[in-house]
């Protein structure tokens, strides 16, 4: 506990105390702002490189470093200096403001996602509900942005995005329910701690499958990328964005990819637990990148679903599988099969 400075000599120790405090370090460096920006920029490069390899191309090459790893920086500089085109009759405040809100919302869940036993910004006892509550704000933001563009393609993309995200949110919440039942807690740190001996992917594999598919749909990844279907809708709900606006949206989309991958890691893949030769955050980031890889790969492989199939899969298949797995979890817990692993 440091008191507010009263004399000029106290100011420097006060500032040092703030900078070296756990809150400041976790908020600004890791797992906060700096780490998120670096990983998200690396993810954009990683996706381009991975997809290029799948399709027997080379991908980014010339922008410095091995394999053109500085490409995201080059892209960022390019996009910042491009003109921001605002459509005629677009709603200007919303058109410029909503992308910022999207990026903020995509980064917000990292406040409660634990990267290690002590590498968490805020240890909230309703962490998982917080993540879902923040996640439920995305569809409305996207719809508002699509409406603010005042253009046909973004609006169609926004409506599709809303349909899709609302339809897949429900199986997602229910599949997370069985994880909450297994851990007996809504706290993400406790959920990871409960997986020290047995990762939840094993007792609730069906949940994992449902959650993963719902994650792909929430992220609008192929085969669920109807909201930005290039042949029909140009670029979906962000067709009209350009320059810095596009950059912020791009950032938000990849931030959300990282956020959902780390959520899968927390809920099903044992979070930071792994052999002790690597520190906990390294294990966490490695697992998250593996999940992100599996989310990215279908983009180079699969075609797009039809709208009716998408809605049908979400409401009639995933929901039922998720509900069934809740009952399986009840049976597993009440018969004490899992007691050997401390559940």
């Amino acid at each position: 506990m440091v008191n507010l400075p009263t004399t000029p000599a106290d100011v420097l120790p006060f500032i040092i105390a703030i900078i070296t405090s756990h809150t400041f370090i976790t908020l600004v460096f890791f797992p906060g702002f700096v780490h998120l920006l670096i990983v998200v920029m690396a993810l954009t490069w990683y996706e381009r490189k991975l997809l290029a390899r799948i399709q027997l191309r080379i991908g980014p090459l010339y922008a410095g470093g091995p394999g053109g790893i500085l490409q995201p920086i080059a892209d960022g500089v390019k996009l910042i200096f491009k003109e921001v085109m605002i459509p005629y009759k677009a709603d200007k405040p919303l058109f410029l403001g909503v992308p910022l809100a999207l990026a903020f919302l995509a980064a917000l869940p990292f406040a409660v996602i634990p990267f290690g036993q002590h590498w968490v910004i805020a240890n909230l006892d309703v962490g998982i509900v917080f993540v879902f509550a923040v996640g439920s704000l995305f569809p409305s933001m996207i719809l508002i942005f699509a409406w603010a563009s005042n253009s046909k393609y973004p609006f169609l993309g926004g409506l599709r995005s809303l349909f899709q995200q609302v339809a897949y949110e429900i199986p997602m919440w229910i599949s997370a329910l069985s994880v909450v039942m297994l851990a007996g807690s809504l706290d993400l740190v406790n959920i990871v701690n409960a997986q020290q001996k047995l990762w939840f992917i094993i007792p609730s594999f069906l949940s994992f499958v449902v959650f993963f598919i719902a994650t792909m749909a929430e992220l609008e990844r192929l085969p669920f990328d109807l909201p930005e279907a290039e042949p029909e809708l140009v670029a979906g709900w962000y067709t009209e964005s350009s320059g810095a606006v596009f950059m912020v949206i791009f950032l938000a989309v990849y931030m959300k990819l990282y956020m959902m991958s780390s959520l899968v890691t927390v809920l099903f893949l044992g979070g930071w637990w792994g052999p002790a030769f690597l520190p906990q955050p390294v294990w966490f980031i490695l697992k998250t990148l593996v999940v992100a890889t599996f989310i990215i790969i279908p983009r180079g492989v699969y075609p797009r679903l039809r709208v009716d199939l998408l809605i049908k899969v979400g409401w009639t298949r995933l929901l039922i599988i998720a509900l069934a797995n809740v009952f399986v979890t009840v049976v597993l817990l009440s018969t004490g099969v899992l007691s050997a692993w401390g559940l």
Binding site: M1, A17, V126, V134, L137, P139, L143, L162
Partner: protein, 170 residues
């Protein structure tokens, strides 16, 4: 550690200002979509009140249900209805009064019935403050089951009322 927490009085003043201003905006906004956004901000302000009252779970559900679902429905309706149509608000004529009386009567009878059946089991003391979330389920479904049922009846009455109001005679 540096204590940078905001004093509770200031939190209350800030939250009240945000919530009330957003609520006024929601009613006064010329563009319906700005009204919906203001409504969402007002709901988030209410969630902030729940957080400051040590009910974070309720706050999260407030955001998920009201901002995540109700406001989305409102936005959806605004966007699908063309602007000229949205300005004209028609009220149905006649019949609501009688239907309202019927629903109110049914509601009163049901609540009285539930309360009479529950009788002595009705809770008398308020639940303990700072109830852990793991205890929320047992308390709600146990000693507070009767208030929960009464709330459910009230909500179904509201649903019936909405159906009556929305019904168009063909």
């Amino acid at each position: 550690m540096v204590d940078l927490t905001i004093p509770p009085d200031l939190t209350f003043v800030i939250l009240t200002t945000i919530t009330l201003l957003a609520a006024i905006m929601a009613l006064q906004a010329k563009e319906l979509i700005y009204g919906a956004i203001s409504l969402a901000i007002s709901f988030i302000g209410i969630a902030g009140f729940f957080v400051s009252l040590d009910a974070p779970y309720l706050a999260m559900l407030q955001i998920a249900v009201y901002v995540g679902a109700v406001v989305v429905l409102i936005l959806f309706t605004i966007m699908l209805v063309r602007r000229e149509e949205a300005d004209k608000v028609e009220t149905p004529e006649g019949g609501e009064g009688a239907a309202g009386l019927w629903i109110a009567g049914l509601l009163a009878v049901s609540i009285a019935g539930v309360a009479a059946l529950a009788g002595p089991n009705l809770p008398t003391a308020p639940p303990p403050a700072n109830l852990p979330i793991s205890q929320l389920g047992p308390v709600l479904a146990g000693s507070y089951a009767v208030p929960l049922i009464i709330l459910a009846l009230l909500l179904s009455a509201a649903l019936l009322g909405a159906l009556v109001l929305a019904k168009v005679d063909r």
